[in-house]
Symmetry: C2
Subunit: 262 residues, 2 copies
């Protein structure tokens, strides 16, 4: 059956966006492109825009919504950057099949666990100020021997130890209240005092647990541990934190999604 009039639904990749209830509120302070991208993202998330279906051409979509093409393009582009859509010249914009979750965020373990419904709790083992070792000084960009705050915590999920977190941060950055450290995550505290996190350099490896680490985490000595080191930078390029963390490999693995840089 080669050629039919094809009223709609050509094969399996039909433009379904026409059936979508889209519209923007021009009185809202929310940017128009953002309103649109959120509506499209919600439609994809809920399956109202089927994977593989075409979005319909930008010009017509813009006309239908009473927007200009650049605005519509900006909305679409943001979803392309998130990995939800794929554009192909001469073809159209297509909803991607795969279940994209997150393109890897700079998330804290606290947020990760909370999002997974794991009821994270924290025990602060140490909260002191110590002179920086060469390793820490290099990571934070301070002088060796300079005062650096050391926060050492045990993180639990469902009252089961998951990780030992050691964070080193410049003393002047944050006054770490121990009680606050137990009730929330470190990154949240930073954001709360106006620090804009920007990027992080991470290293993920594995090693065997020594006697004390094994005791803390409830593992046998020599048990494999996931080890992560992370230096976090704010949007001025300043290192705001150096973390040295170990996780029980029997209980935890890093999961993330990543996109190919186009």
């Amino acid at each position: 059956m080669p050629k039919q009039p094809e009223p709609e639904q050509p094969g399996g990749a039909a433009p379904q966006a026409a059936a979508l209830r889209l519209g923007v509120d021009r009185t809202s302070p929310v940017p128009l492109y953002f309103q649109l991208s959120q509506q499209l993202e919600a439609a994809i998330e809920q399956g109202r825009l089927a994977p593989g279906s075409l979005l319909g051409n930008e010009i017509e979509l813009a006309a239908r919504l009473g927007l200009s093409r650049p605005t519509v393009r900006q909305a679409i582009q943001s979803l392309v950057d998130k990995g939800l859509l794929v554009r192909r010249r001469g073809v159209g914009t297509q909803v991607l099949h795969s279940k994209v979750r997150r393109p890897l965020e700079l998330s804290s373990l606290y947020d990760d666990l909370e999002a997974a419904g794991q009821r994270p709790t924290t025990r602060v083992l140490r909260n002191t100020v110590e002179p920086a070792t060469a390793r820490i000084a290099a990571a934070l960009g301070v002088a060796e021997g300079a005062d650096v705050r050391l926060v050492e915590r045990l993180r639990y999920a469902h009252d089961e130890p998951m990780a030992r977190l050691r964070n080193h941060l410049p003393v002047e950055l944050l006054d770490c209240d121990t009680a606050q450290l137990e009730s929330t995550g470190l990154y949240r505290m930073m954001r709360a005092v106006g620090i804009t996190l920007h990027s992080a350099r991470q290293s993920v490896g594995a090693r065997a647990a020594d006697a004390e680490e094994a005791r803390l985490l409830g593992e046998a000595p020599g048990a494999p541990l996931l080890a992560m080191e992370r230096t976090t930078f704010d949007d001025t390029g300043r290192a705001v934190e150096f973390g040295d963390h170990i996780y029980r490999a029997s209980r935890y693995a890093f999961e993330f999604q990543l996109l190919v840089r186009p």
Copy 2:
């Protein structure tokens, strides 16, 4: 010293871009915004644009280059997305201090090692077609028991074993030449046949080596290993590969940089 005429260099964040030799070639098929972003990136990389310095306002920059503001903005935006620049409304566009390398790519171990000058080599242990287990079938989205190609390789750097790589891929996707597998990476072979890699879902954990794994990698049984599972998708959302890899933790760690989603 509150107020000085300040002819230039206000503090430590002066607009230095004025001294830059920028210019675009309108006869080139390379997009103008891309030419500009490459020149800016090179200038940042080489330190000709000092970290912390301002880029100067977009309007003037556009006028100086004979470009429109949207074009200049597009160039700047691509560098913001790469994490090299930070824009702040009312302030300007600033070069970031930190040494951003890569925002985490979907890289193969082969490319990683080659980029590090490690002379990677490969030994193919197995290159067969087998029925898919439940785990593999679920990852690839094929029926359980369906034919799936299994490629098992040992990866060396400087003639030292680094990792055992097990890849499972749909048979129809690629005819895997063993000789080719030894001389290059799997991802390169995929790209060569027109597969556009799009995203991957990864899980990184740790576990102890069993007897055979230890023998292959030259480690002691029970030694900690880095374990990674990865499902790779192309731009149609189709799963093109499921990998199940182990790395010697004594020799290898994952390093990457990641950006905060704004």
